[in-house]
Every structure is written in structure tokens, then in C-alpha cells.
């Protein structure tokens, strides 16, 4: 690309870098600040002395967390939920995307099924009927409530991604397999799934991130704090505010009294898994979205 190299243009280039860098830094600063806050002393934090470097460095808040058994129990609950949720997601997407990707001629009623699936994305009964349904099935306080309900929210999107991907694979694969005497199950297992690794990886990652971050169903379907997943536990401790009558003064006083370093430490630990995994998986997320688009 040939561009003019006038003075105005160079100035623009430099300003551009500065501006973009600032915007990028703004995305990291709050996270860095949280880390600094979590490593500071509580008095410094309440006084507002902490900027980007810990003031009164200590590991008190982290040792407090180490002693909080419920934190680890919730962490483990979240891990279980992610494992179950992502696993289930993988299986169901693989199972459903293959038949749905066959053309309407091969699979009569395919369009009917697809529209039914899409319909569940567009319309839902609301939180109350969902709660009552889960209660009817006796899944309150059960991790499967989180896995099944949460999974149902995202599964259709994932299926559609996979279906579009499968449809972009050459039709000859199917025919070749058929000629060699392979039934649908064999074709799915031996041919399509190995080919679909990119899209299945993407879909699994979406599912992992969703289940890890989701907190509402943990709040609604678990009645005892011991059963809370991590995000719900943190939400109740750090973020939620007692909805009693409150004045601005009370709000301010509450802010001053709270143990900000402990909150910051809990938030930071909850962030860690995502931060740790993110650099490696970032490619998959971005690449994967375009994989599942309709290309014709």
C-alpha cells in the first residue's frame, strides 16, 4: 500500500499509536489495580492511597482466603460445573450437528428441527417457569441444575456454529463413506469428528467460559451457600448490597467499612483461571467465530 509520507501523516501515525495504546492499557489497568489493591494493607486501601503499586505490601488477604474453606468449595463446584458442562456440550453438539447438517433432501424434517432449535433461542418462558421446572425435577441444590439449564442457554448457538461448519465440508465425504459401507454413526465418529476439531474446540471454549462466568443460576437454584459456584459466592460477598432502605450516607459508610483488600483478592483469584488460559486460547476464539459462518 502506497501512502503519502507527509509531515501530517507521520504526526497522525504517532498519535494513532498513542491513542490505541491508551485504549489497550485502559483494559488492563483496572485488573492491575485490583492486584495492587489486594496486596496492600487495608488502611492504605480505605484511605485511597493505592494507585498502581501496593502500599503496605502484605499477603493478609490471600492468607484469609486460604483459610476460607467455602471459597475453595465454591471453586471446586465451578470446576465441576465447567467440566460437566463443557463435556456435555461437546457430546451434544457433535451428535446434533451432524444430522442437522445434512441437506433437507437427505434428512426430511431437518428444517423443522432447525427452526425449533432457533425458536428456543428467540423466546423463553422467563426465570420463574424455569425455576419451577427445575423444582419439579428435584434438581434444586444439585449441580446438574446449573449444568443442564446453563448449557441449554448456549447449546443452540454452538450447534448452529457446528452445523454451518459441517455444511462447508465437501459432500463427497459422505458419499465416499456410504460407498464403503459406513453407517451414520461410523461416519460421524471416524470422519466428521476428527475433521471438526477446530469448531468443536471453539464451541468447547465458549462453553467453558460461559459456565465459569455464570452466576445467576447458582443464585437461583442453590439455596445453601455451600452449594454456590465461585462467581455466585463472590457476588454475594463482594458485590451484592442488602436491599434494605439505604441512604447515600449509609452507602458511603458501608464503602468505608468494607474490607477492600479482601474483596480485591477474591476478585483477582476468580480472574486468574481466565487470565492464565486466555493468551493461549485467544487464537481459537477469534478464529472459531468465523468458522461457523454461512459461506456460500
Amino acid at each position: 500500500m502506497v501512502r503519502d509520507q507527509s509531515f501530517g501523516s507521520k504526526w497522525f501515525d504517532h498519535m494513532l499509536i498513542v491513542l490505541l495504546a491508551l485504549m489497550a492499557i485502559s483494559c488492563i489497568l483496572p485488573l492491575w489495580y485490583t492486584l495492587a489493591l489486594s496486596l496492600s494493607s487495608n488502611t492504605a486501601a480505605s484511605a485511597g492511597d493505592v494507585w498502581l503499586w501496593p502500599v503496605g505490601f502484605n499477603l493478609n488477604s490471600y492468607s484469609q482466603i486460604m483459610q476460607d474453606a467455602q471459597f475453595f468449595k465454591s471453586f471446586w463446584t465451578s470446576v465441576q460445573r465447567v467440566a460437566l458442562g463443557a463435556g456435555l456440550n461437546f457430546i451434544i453438539v457433535a451428535l446434533m450437528a451432524y444430522p442437522l447438517s445434512r441437506s433437507a433432501a437427505q434428512f426430511k424434517g431437518r428444517n423443522v428441527f432447525m427452526w425449533m432449535l432457533v425458536f428456543t433461542m428467540l423466546f423463553n418462558g422467563g426465570l420463574i417457569p424455569l425455576y419451577l421446572t427445575v423444582k419439579e425435577f428435584g434438581l434444586i441444590n444439585n449441580i446438574w441444575a446449573l449444568v443442564l439449564v446453563g448449557g441449554a442457554q448456549t447449546i443452540v448457538f454452538n450447534i448452529i456454529l457446528a452445523v454451518n461448519f459441517f455444511r462447508n465440508l465437501p459432500r463427497e465425504l459422505d458419499e465416499a463413506a456410504l460407498v464403503d459401507g459406513a453407517g451414520p454413526w461410523y461416519t460421524l465418529a471416524r470422519i466428521y469428528i476428527p475433521l471438526a476439531v477446530p469448531v468443536l474446540a471453539t464451541v468447547t471454549l465458549f462453553s467453558i467460559v460461559y459456565h465459569w462466568n455464570e452466576f445467576l443460576y447458582g443464585l437461583v437454584f442453590m439455596t445453601r451457600e455451600t452449594n454456590y459456584p465461585l462467581q455466585t459466592y463472590i457476588q454475594q460477598l463482594v458485590v451484592s448490597v442488602d436491599p434494605a432502605t439505604m441512604s447515600e450516607d449509609q452507602y458511603r459508610r458501608m464503602a468505608e467499612m468494607s474490607n477492600r483488600t479482601l474483596d480485591a483478592a477474591q476478585i483477582f483469584i476468580a480472574m486468574l483461571p481466565v487470565l492464565a488460559v486466555y493468551p493461549f486460547l485467544q487464537r481459537f476464539f477469534i478464529h472459531g467465530i468465523t468458522l461457523g459462518s454461512v459461506k456460500e
Binding site: S26, A152, V239, V294
Partner: protein, 284 residues
């Protein structure tokens, strides 16, 4: 092969849909749905007399529309700026960093944001440096919607630029070369090549976001709000949550939720249909 997945969806997505009948019933939790009497549109009539109803619908629309506008424009500007950057390494780093907030939950970001804007938090400290008096940000109902939109844009702008960047790479470089031979500078390039080139994508995203006009972001607002900002910050979903699950007014909450789902359904269907007609966008 379809069966397990389908049964799963059936139970947890489709069966709850039948629960909307509660909105038309005098619900008795003991008797369940089948044992409760149908009383018609009573709850809907009641809903329209409540002051709450007007404010939650207004708040939802206000916040959602602002979010839609901001989430369309800020990522676009950022993508255009990023596209001008010629240092590839920096470009990749910036992209990686900027996508990050999207992957963090609102529980985490809510905690961080509330802390940043706290009475003796960094933002107010910064104000102090410039001599301004501190503001109790999240207790002020006037500020709340703007804080909500602002933080949401901050969280999502990175991820939302992906689509714009992908569209920008689809513009043929030959066009730029031809233009520079004709003496076109940066701004002419932008106006005559870049913007028309991504016009389809922008229109598509705008149309698709129509369906979200009633989704003002439950997770975010739930984690950022408090009773002091209910007047401007309470959206349909948070009101339904409190009314239905905390105050146990099942019928009313279901009725409002049903209204929202129904309007949302119509909006989304219209938007998908428009996208299909205008740009031949298909879901599958």
C-alpha cells in the same frame, strides 16, 4: 442421534415455555400449574397500573438503545483506527489485550468497577488531585445509566471489533492502490473505499442488534445496582427477578417476563427477516 440433545432442550427450554401460563393464573404453589385457576388478563391489567412498569420499560429501552448505539460505533471507530496501524506486532498485542475484558464476568468486573468508582477510590482520588470534590458515583440515580453504558462499552468494544476487522480485511488492497495513484489521501480513502466496503457489515450488525432492544444487560446491572438507583437503573429483568423470586409474586413477574419475551421475539424475528432481505444473511 438427535434424540438426547433434543430431549435435553425440550425439558429445559421448551417445557418452561409452558410455564408462561402462570401469568394467566391465580397461582397456588402448592397446587402447581395444573391445580391453579385461570383468571385471564387480570395480572396484565394490574401490571399496567403499577408505576414500576412504566419506569422499568423506560429504563430498559433507554439503557439498551444507548448501549446498542455505543456498541456499534465505538468498536467501528476502534477497528478503523487499528486498521491504520502499520506496526503489525503492536497491532496483535493491542488486539489481544483489548479482547480480554469480554471474557471476564460481571461479578468480577462489577466488583472492580464499584471499587474504582468508590467514594475513596481512584477515580475520586483523581478528582481530588484536580480540586474537584468526590462523587458517590454508584449512589446517584442520574449517573447510573451512563455509568452502565460506559462500562459495558469498555468491556465489549474489543471483542466487537473482531467482526469489523474481519470485514476490513475483505476490502481489496487494489482499491487502495488505485486510489493512491489518483492522489487520494487518508481521509478520501476512508470515505470512498473503507466505509462503503464495510457498509454491509455495519448495517447487518445494526439490524441484528434491533432484537436486543429490551435486553439492557441483567448480569451487569444486577452486579452494579443498589436500591438508590432503582429509579433509573432497574430494568425489566432485574425487576422480574426481585418481584418473582424475592417477593414471590410469581404471576406478576411471569406476566412481565412474558411481555418482554414476546416483544423481544417479535423484534428479533423482524430483525433477522430484515437482515435476510437486505443482505441475504442466513443463520443456517
Amino acid at each position: 442421534m438427535l434424540l438426547p440433545g433434543f430431549v435435553w432442550l425440550l425439558i429445559f427450554s421448551i417445557v418452561p415455555m409452558f410455564g408462561i401460563i402462570i401469568a394467566f393464573q391465580n397461582f397456588n404453589p402448592g397446587a402447581g400449574i395444573t391445580g391453579s385457576k385461570l383468571i385471564g388478563l387480570e395480572h396484565f391489567r394490574y401490571m399496567f397500573t403499577l408505576n414500576d412498569t412504566r419506569s422499568i420499560f423506560f429504563n430498559t429501552l433507554f439503557i439498551a438503545l444507548m448501549k446498542i448505539a455505543a456498541n456499534l460505533m465505538v468498536p467501528l471507530v476502534f477497528a478503523l483506527l487499528l486498521n491504520e496501524l502499520r506496526v503489525q506486532l503492536l497491532k496483535r498485542w493491542i488486539q489481544t489485550i483489548v479482547y480480554l475484558p469480554h471474557f471476564l464476568s460481571w461479578v468480577i468486573l462489577g466488583g472492580i468497577v464499584l471499587d474504582l468508582f468508590a467514594y475513596n477510590g481512584p477515580v475520586n482520588q483523581l478528582f481530588g488531585l484536580f480540586g474537584a470534590s468526590p462523587v458517590v458515583f454508584f449512589a446517584k440515580a442520574e449517573l447510573f445509566p451512563y455509568l452502565v453504558v460506559g462500562t459495558d462499552v469498555w468491556k465489549e468494544f474489543g471483542f466487537n471489533t473482531i467482526i469489523y476487522l474481519a470485514a476490513l480485511t475483505g476490502i481489496s488492497p487494489a482499491l487502495y492502490e488505485a486510489a493512491s495513484m489518483d492522489g487520494a489521501g487518508r481521509w478520501r480513502n476512508l470515505w470512498h473505499i473503507t466505509l462503503p466496503g464495510i457498509r454491509t457489515t455495519v448495517v447487518l450488525l445494526a439490524v441484528l442488534s434491533l432484537g436486543n432492544v429490551l435486553n439492557a444487560g441483567f448480569d451487569q446491572i444486577f452486579n452494579l445496582y443498589n436500591p438508590l438507583v432503582y429509579s433509573t437503573g432497574d430494568i425489566i429483568d432485574t425487576w422480574v427477578y426481585r418481584t418473582g423470586l424475592l417477593n414471590l409474586q410469581y404471576e406478576l413477574a411471569t406476566a412481565v417476563g412474558l411481555l418482554k419475551s414476546f416483544i423481544g421475539f417479535i423484534l428479533i424475528s423482524v430483525s433477522y427477516f430484515l437482515a435476510y432481505r437486505l443482505i441475504n444473511y442466513r443463520i443456517f
